[in-house]
């Protein structure tokens, strides 16, 4: 994976993002003139999503601060690097399952860990395991039955490991 790309994304503010922000603001303004009620409703939905993501943002910022201040690069490499053992696999898979909120909130944390030596396969492992959601399991069991949910979850975990292995295998070509 391209480290320069990471640094660029982290340090250099994108002008495209600024243009996009202005475009969205103008769009909202125009829509507000013609369809005030619907635009208010859309803004309320956006506000609710924003409020829901705040706790996740705080959690990710705390994680990043802890990683930056308390955990040394060598520790990250030992636990999550190329020679990581079963402990690393279990830790990342569990973290992926337990992680909540929008996926894009977690990208900066993954980037941070990656820059500190986390193998790319583990990034894939984390992201794939996000599809296994504990809060929705009771509902899934209610609708599809426990056997189906167990089988489905098992194959999801297998697929996450396959993807992690594939990512590591093709990693030299992903730079």
């Amino acid at each position: 994976m391209n480290k320069n790309n990471h640094n660029k994304a982290a340090s250099k503010p994108s002008k495209t993002g600024t243009y996009f922000l202005y475009a969205v603001l103008i769009l909202y303004l125009v829509l507000f003139i013609y369809k005030a009620e619907q635009t208010k409703h859309a803004l309320l939905i956006s506000y609710n999503i924003f409020m829901q993501t705040i706790p996740i943002f705080i959690l990710v910022i705390v994680f990043m601060a802890v990683i930056g201040q308390l955990i040394k690069r060598k520790q990250v490499i030992d636990l999550l690097g190329k020679d990581a053992g079963i402990k690393g696999w279990l830790l990342v898979a569990t973290a992926g399952i337990l992680s909540h909120g929008p996926i894009y909130v977690w990208y900066p944390l993954l980037q941070n860990l990656q820059n500190n030596g986390m193998r790319n396969g583990f990034v894939s492992l984390f992201l794939y395991n996000r599809a296994v959601k504990i809060p929705t399991l009771p509902m899934m069991i209610y609708y599809f039955g426990i056997v189906y949910v167990l089988v489905f979850t098992f194959w999801m975990l297998v697929a996450s490991i396959i993807q992690a292995k594939l990512t590591d295998l093709f990693d030299p070509y992903l730079e």
Partner: protein, 53 residues
């Protein structure tokens, strides 16, 4: 039903953010493999359920 695996780990709207943070080639590779794996998971789930039930 096995296609549910596609639901969260491969959302097209988050690809630009994934590209920005984790790299273009990585994001494309991960999303393509997620798509293929989601189909394989669906096949595996159906096959396993066929054996169990």
């Amino acid at each position: 039903m096995g296609g549910n695996s596609l639901a969260d780990n491969q959302k097209f709207r988050s690809i630009p953010a994934e590209m920005a943070f984790l790299g273009n080639k990585y994001a494309i590779f991960r999303n393509i493999t997620s798509f293929i794996l989601s189909i394989l998971v669906a096949v595996a789930v159906v096959a396993t359920m066929g054996v169990i039930i």
